[in-house]
Amino acid sequence: MANLLIKNGFVYDPLNGINGEKMDIAIKNGKIVDKLDVKRKKTIDASGMIVMPGGVDLHSHIAGPKVNSGRMFRPEDHFKDVEPKTEKTRSGVGRSIPSTFTTGYRYARMGYTTVMDPAMPPLMARHEHEELNDTPMIDKGAYPLLSDCWFVLEPLQKGLIEKCAAYVAWTMEATRGYAIKLVNPGGLEAWGFGGNVRDIDDTVPHFNITPREIIQGLCKVNQLLHMPHTIHVHTNNLGKPGNFQTCLETMKCVENLANNDKPVIHVTHCQFSSFKGSDWRTFESGAEEIAKYVNTRSHVTTDMGQVVFGDTTTMTADGPFQYILYQLSHNKWINSDVETETSAGIVPFRYKRSSFVHAVQWSIGLELALLIKDPWKIFMTTDHPNAAPFIFYPKIISWLMSRAAREKLMKKVNRRALHKSLLPTIDREYTFAELAIATRAGQARSLGLKQKGHLDVGADADIAVYNINQEQVDPSKQYKLIRRAFKNAAYTIKDGEVVVKDGEIVKSVEGKTFWVKPELSNPIMEISPRLKEAFEDYYTVQYENYVVPEHHLAISHPITVKAEV
């Protein structure tokens, strides 16, 4: 591996307080080093360009059973967006649900180097990792869906937090997962019989537990296990007018579990949970209320889930919500429930500028990003592909950085929605530093990935260089240049190697799969024979077949944490 020196770029490293200074970055053996005392090094001239840590995406549906079912049932999504095979890259198809190789290449072209899949049914973990293995260029991980697992609901219902923690620890290792994911907690179990839960204090049928108890319970478990990330929550009532209340309740219910200024909950794709109004006619944005709350608290982080108008595919573990989407849109619909654990639903969807509801949704995501003052609390995502395919990130970046860019689109959206939107009153424009937080530093910090999202000595040498000269370009006015620059990175460096140059893949690499291994301090808490017995009762697979062997991951990168249990 060559030593590398990136010279003269405008460096943005918010985690280390570097804000656009002209600096050199030195790389040796895949890590960032102080300086290179060696003669043999390759130099990249980054003069007139911006240097940032490689992009980090903490919530993007890129792999696994439901993503693949989506791919399978939408050949019409693929056939006009193809990637021919080249000497260095495998062929594939794209648009809203790209094939795995194409997913990796397209992220890398935009300067992204770490992407997390946020929804892995534990029973299908093997499938998830096989797809991640075939997703090149990026480091990755997956979050097991735990909020409706019987082995979680049962101990939590009895108040046995430590027992639940032991099970979660075992599952995290068995599925090679990274974080505890909650989706419509309790609602998915109810969906097993076609039902749902109405709010966080509704009782889950047959289990005598409320979503509030599940959220609080798993939050405590997360703390006991010292997980690097917080609990990652897709709230109840997602997509329902008036659900901003549920979102606030969800954030409030773990307020007193925070013992210092560090976050204890991450509310994901917050746009879908910030709906005000009582029905689709009176529908409006609840972003202001959410922002007000988040601005005065330090225990919550969120990500946008920003809508981009056009054709995409919605896919989440929220079975009941996806069924509602089917009823609204009359598009084809896949539903796939997973025994003992969770569910999934997929519906193609088109966001139209002329639609009142969609235009309000578009506004909500941006309002959240612009009204929440601290960029460490709100990250840029589209919940790919739910609100938009990830290839539209550069467009969203231009909206964040340029009021003019927002206004241009505002002129074309539904008039009634525009009338109700707060956007016309918002002047704020993201700086490059804030952008670096929203798309890399903040996400990496939230994930607890210590070697990502920054450029300090010891960090993984995952770096993106964008061809934007901050001294000559005004992002507010020249947002088209911003879009172009972030669409095709001048350079993407992964583990110290140049893998993308001018938006083209020059070297294909495999990334690592991150997963968390909680080490229990009390060996008696190890998975008990009773659990094994219950296992055979609950599942239709054998206990030994459930565990994903570590060697099944192409490049396994465990992160060990010491649990308090």
Binding site: P65, E83, D337
Partner: protein, 452 residues
């Protein structure tokens, strides 16, 4: 059935690779056979790579890579079997779940054009009516009871007849049984119940709570009729598919009134007239039923890893089968890029068959055109296809001698375990395919050839 596969596997296996020389298949070294295979594939203008359903996912991944490298068409047995299910899903989606959900929750099971008692013998025991679930108990006892009741009634009838003969009493005329006009009461109870719908009475039908006999090739009409009836709308015909509308109306009540229903459908539905549209109608019915209750649909799949073949193909190429790489990127158009169709039109000029026997199973015209051209077979035993091959590469048996992953019919991934040590001379499918790719790349570099 599974046992015989396990225990019989080592009979009838070619031990060494074979190459056809002067019209005869003779033994050759692995190197030679790999080289010849690579030559055939690299030169071909439209090679097909077919089979894949009886091998592990690891091998299938390499297969896709090879198809891409040689600019060919990769297709799996979906094309002759459950392909129509895939096509329907692409048009309307589907509502499904993993088998455990059925075990725990289903109170109504419909087997439509499917006979699990013969084809998937463990199905009832493990997943449906005869198993215990968290929210449902097994219907086995109920079945035994009803079987017992049926048998005792028969015994009593025989006894009565015998008594009449011994004592010279006039034998009571057997009561004329009224034709069953409506559905049995059992179908409206809370416990597990099973309905079988088929064109003739099968072994599964014998143990069902209700058997609905339908005319062949009328499934489409029956599904569509049910879709309309569940919305309380009326039909203008007296019967559909040989079934009186009153019975369909009763059936509608059962469907809507259950707590969790599941419709399993067999290959019969994909084969009968209407093909993919039959499945589509079934999926649409199940989808519409979700307005009233929880209902799911699932295919009863045959070849053991055909689901895996679809899944791997989809994540790597975007498409589940019939993937054409001839232009350098994946293209998909069943009917055009599916192997049976393109063989029938005699469009390909070379073939690699992996773990499959198309000569025995394909339509005559397609099989004829298959053997006309250079044919490479990678398999664990002899078959009708190996007889006509130009190169035969024997491999180890996945799931017995080689580890890997396979996908169950409900898409749950399972590890294939090694039970016996791999014979030295027999590499795995994955290993052989990797060697062939390496050799193809070497040849292409040498020849400065590009496949687009």
């Amino acid at each position: 059935m599974g046992e015989s596969k396990f225990l019989g596997y080592s009979l009838h296996r070619p031990q060494k690779p074979l190459i056809r020389k002067n019209g005869e298949l003779v033994e050759a070294s692995l190197n030679e056979a790999v080289k010849k295979s690579a030559e055939i594939l690299a030169e071909a203008s439209y090679p097909i790579l077919y089979g894949w359903s009886n091998t592990s996912c690891e091998a299938i991944r390499v297969g896709v890579e090879l198809a891409e490298e040689v600019g060919g068409v990769i297709d799996n047995t979906s094309t002759v079997c459950h392909g129509p299910s895939v096509l329907s899903i692409q048009d309307v989606g589907f509502s499904t779940c993993t088998l455990g959900q059925i075990r725990h929750r289903a109170d109504l099971v419909l087997y439509w054009a499917s006979n699990p008692w013969s084809a998937h013998p463990r199905h009832l025991e493990r997943y449906t009516n005869f198993t215990e679930g968290r929210f449902r108990s097994s219907a086995w006892n109920k079945y035994l009871d009803s079987l017992g009741a049926y048998r005792s009634e028969r015994r009593m009838q025989r006894a009565a007849k015998l008594a009449g003969e011994i004592h010279g009493l006039p034998v009571a005329a057997p009561s004329v049984e009224e034709p069953v006009q409506r559905l049995p009461h059992a179908l409206f109870e809370k416990e597990r119940k099973m309905i079988v719908v088929d064109v003739r009475r099968t072994r599964t039908a014998d143990i069902a709570d209700y058997f609905l006999e339908v005319e062949p090739n009328k499934d489409y009409e029956i599904f569509q009729a049910l879709r309309t009836l569940i919305r309380d709308e009326e039909l203008e015909v007296d019967s559909v598919g040989g079934v009186p509308v009153e019975i369909l109306e009763d059936l509608t009540d059962v469907l809507v009134g259950c707590e969790f229903g599941v419709l399993f459908f067999g290959v019969g539905l994909t084969m009968s007239e209407g093909k993919l549209r039959n499945i589509e109608a079934g999926i649409s019915l199940v989808r519409d039923l979700n307005q009233f209750t929880k209902f799911i649909i699932m295919p009863m799949r045959g070849h053991y890893n055909v689901t895996g073949a679809n899944i791997v193909s989809t994540w790597q190429t975007g498409y589940p089968y019939a993937v054409d790489f001839s232009h350098g990127y994946p293209r998909y158009n069943p009917g055009e890029t599916s192997v049976v169709d393109l063989l029938s039109r005699d469009e390909s000029d070379a073939a690699l068959i992996v773990a499959s026997d198309p000569v025995a199973h394909f339509p005559k015209e397609a099989a004829k055109n298959l053997i006309k051209h250079p044919l490479i077979v990678i398999d664990t035993g002899t078959s009708a296809t190996t007889v006509f091959a130009d190169v035969v590469l024997p491999t180890a048996v996945s799931g017995i001698e080689v580890e890997g992953t396979a996908y169950r019919m409900d898409r749950v991934p399972l590890p294939l375990k090694k039970v016996v040590r791999q014979p030295k001379a027999c590499p795995s499918d994955e290993q052989i395919l990797r060697r062939i790719i390496r050799e193809v790349r070497r040849l292409k570099k040498k020849g400065g050839r590009s496949n687009g």
